[in-house]
């Protein structure tokens, strides 16, 4: 009952006209950004992060969560209508969503995606209420434990991103360095500032994430030679009883799958939605329909994706550890207002913590209410030529980066980060680890140094707690699996090369 009371408290706190307006605005802005081809939740939330400065802590956090929700659905719209997934997790949706569009059933694909997302999100919120009760247990963690768990989260993110381990680690190291620029929090020594006073307070997180996600994405689309073919044929949004009946199972299985996937820091949303897709295909009596417009192929992955989106908040709220790039950006929104997500948040600012959970519920309802009526509006947005959309977005980004610190220096930081992000992206260096370390870095260093302080500089002191040692063991396991996997692939590639050459 306590969780329910807390949720009611949260609802009471956010059900004000002002905060509801921010939630509606957030959903709309998120969807608007999400429908821009190529823009996933990370890029969308990064792009709109300056908006977090406009209101108080609760309103800002609620708005950012709504932007996150909206952008996820925005990605679904482009997946279904254009076969252009806003992010990798929407690729599975496109497999059957786009064939449905070609059959004139885009409206039904979008409708089931919205309904599945709503159910998956709502059930995950119930799970989240339960998990939040255990947040107080995390208060017993020492500096050492927090250091070890942060390191574990980071390793999981790098290990599970699916990209090269070396490149993932390079990305993480670069993020750590950017986070170290500025005055040392313990001694006040300026580090890596090159004598520039602009850097004494550190490099602005908002400008960097806007650059590496938003700007890099725009530069990519500016270079893209392809023109999009936008179909305006949505068809009927009404689902038949047969559509509903086919979707019950996928929605239920997708919810469970997504919720548990989201609890694992770094677990890729793409893996979750593809697992859901594969599962639906496996359990289907007519698997041959998949890939040709099966509604189950949209319902399952979309539900799983949204359930994961909600349960991703659990590691952030209970341990203060972001489990994805988008969560790292949302963590940035917290820090803008001087809040630190984690177990203390429930004690120090319960209205924000429970307000956020309640806002997920409210955003879920708002999204369901707004998604379908506004589909035709988003389609008309998509009809604006991409080259014009790019210019509009660049203009808004310039204003946003400037407004954060009212300094042109921040615009420059955004562009430098964007160019570096774009270059690294071309080289297939993942940017999610960098975003994570950018926010986790200062926490990682602080806890590392405090733990060493306690052990009087002895590195053996870092192994002085059972919880930390368990985390280290898990890190070693993840690294071993990743290295052995890479080794195995290299052996396989070596074996297959001679046969390829001889046959050619």
């Amino acid at each position: 009952m306590s969780a329910l009371n807390d949720l009611l408290l949260g609802l009471q706190h956010i059900l004000t006209p002002e905060i509801l307006l921010f939630a509606v605005l957030g959903c709309a802005l998120g969807m608007l950004t999400g429908v821009l081809p190529g823009f996933g939740p990370a890029a969308a939330t990064a792009l709109l992060l300056p908006v977090a400065f406009l209101a108080g802590p609760t309103a800002s956090i609620v708005m950012m969560a709504a932007i996150y929700y909206g952008s996820m659905y925005g990605g679904t719209i482009t997946s279904v209508l254009l076969n252009v997934p806003g992010e990798v997790s929407s690729v599975a949706t496109a497999l059957d969503g786009y064939p449905m569009t070609k059959q004139g059933r885009a409206g039904q694909a979008l409708a089931i995606a919205a309904i599945g997302s709503f159910i998956g999100g709502a059930i995950s919120i119930v799970g989240m209420l339960f998990a939040a009760q255990f947040a107080s247990l995390a208060l017993a963690l020492t500096y050492l434990d927090i250091f070890a768990f942060s390191l574990l989260a980071l390793t999981l993110v790098i290990g599970l991103t699916g990209s090269s381990m070396i490149k993932g680690l390079i990305s993480a190291s670069l993020g750590l360095f950017v986070g170290m620029v500025g005055l040392d929090q313990f001694t006040g020594v300026p580090r890596f500032t090159g004598g520039s006073l602009n850097l004494y307070d550190g490099i602005d997180f908002v400008a960097v994430v806007m650059g590496i996600f938003g700007l890099a994405e725009i530069l990519e689309s500016i270079g893209d030679p392809k023109d999009r073919d936008i179909s305006s044929k949505i068809g009927s949004l009404r689902l038949s009883w047969s559509d509903f009946r086919s979707s019950f199972g996928p929605i239920g299985r997708g919810t469970v799958l997504g919720f548990f996937f989201g609890l694992i820091p770094g677990s890729p949303a793409a893996a979750c939605s593809f697992t859901s897709y594969a599962l639906e295909r496996r359990v289907s009596k007519t698997p041959e329909r998949f890939g040709k417009g099966a509604i189950e192929g949209v319902a399952g992955p979309e539900t799983a994706n949204n359930a994961l989106g909600v349960s991703n908040f659990i590691p952030l709220l209970t341990l203060g550890i972001p489990s994805s790039a988008t969560m790292a950006i949302l963590l940035g929104a917290f820090t803008i207002h001087g809040l630190t997500p984690g177990p203390m948040l429930f004690q120090q600012s319960p209205e924000v913590a429970w307000g956020l959970i309640a806002s997920l519920l409210v955003s879920n309802v708002i999204l369901l209410a707004m998604a379908l009526p506004l589909v035709r509006v988003w389609v008309s947005v998509l009809k604006i030529p991409p080259r014009i959309l790019q210019v509009i977005t660049l203009g808004f980004m310039t204003v946003g980066a400037y407004a954060v610190t009212t300094s042109v220096f921040n615009v420059m930081v955004m562009w430098i980060a964007g160019l570096i992000g774009f270059g690294l992206r071309r080289l297939k260096v993942p940017m999610a680890p960098a975003a994570l370390t950018l926010v986790l870095g200062p926490m990682l260093e602080e806890n590392f140094r405090r733990a060493l302080d306690i052990s009087r500089g002895e590195f053996s002191g870092l192994f002085g707690s059972t919880a930390a040692n368990v985390a280290y063991a898990l890190i070693a396991t993840v690294l071993a699996v990743k290295i052995l996997g890479a080794f195995w692939r290299a052996v396989q590639a070596f074996r297959s090369t001679p046969s390829t050459v001889s046959s050619s």
């Binding site: 406009l54 699916g162 070396i166 530069l219 270079g223 890729p268 793409a270 297939k428 692939r489 390829t500």
Partner: protein
């Protein structure tokens, strides 16, 4: 020669498949050059970190954590330098490109020209925002982008930019966001 299972057709590179070895080799070279630059930067970072001091007595100093990260970066850069973009198979499939993040299209010469132009245009807000103020600098910036990137007639681009800059200025003012005023220009004229 007929396309076989081992040789690529000219389909769009959507699944990690590239247009044959030259493309892959170019990517590989890019990887190695970047790795070399990164190696230089990480060595410089390591030296700088050590200069900050690794320990203050028995307590960790401001340079300890950066030195550990820089040391790791040195090792990683060397590994990247050795491995490049990963093994490029003869069938043109590069495992390093076949990961789930690989949804970027190849950029042609015209695409690169557009990118260079847009990046160069960024100098307008960077250099003019404070001296000329938001309205003038943003109008010039947007007009330039709309004319070249979006291929809109200059007079239409100028009109749209004037409107866009004006509306955002009013919107920002309503939201209490402070945007640069042309104080620099006024000071200059005053002098």
């Amino acid at each position: 020669m007929q396309p076989s299972a081992h040789f690529p057709t000219h389909d769009p590179p959507t699944d990690g498949r590239v247009d044959g070895p030259p493309n892959g080799l170019r990517r590989d070279l890019g990887d190695r050059i970047t790795a070399l630059i990164l190696l230089g930067i990480s060595v410089a970072l390591l030296v700088t970190s050590i200069d900050y001091g690794l320990f203050n007595g028995t307590n960790p100093g401001p340079g300890l954590f950066p030195a550990i990260v820089a040391g790791a970066l040195v090792v990683l850069s060397v590994l990247w330098l050795i491995t490049g973009a990963g093994a490029i198979r003869r069938d043109g499939t590069n495992p390093a490109l076949a990961d789930e993040d690989d949804d970027d299209a190849e950029i042609d010469a015209a695409g690169w020209r557009r990118i260079v132009y847009v990046v160069a245009m960024t100098l307008v807000p960077l250099l003019l925002l404070e001296p000329l103020g938001y309205f003038v600098a943003m109008t010039i910036y947007l007009t330039g982008l709309l004319t070249i990137n979006a291929r809109i007639k200059p007079w239409i681009a100028l009109t749209v930019s004037l409107l866009g800059a004006g509306v955002t200025l009013i919107g920002a003012d309503a939201l209490g966001v402070s945007l640069p005023t042309p104080l620099g220009l006024l000071n200059l004229i005053g002098r």
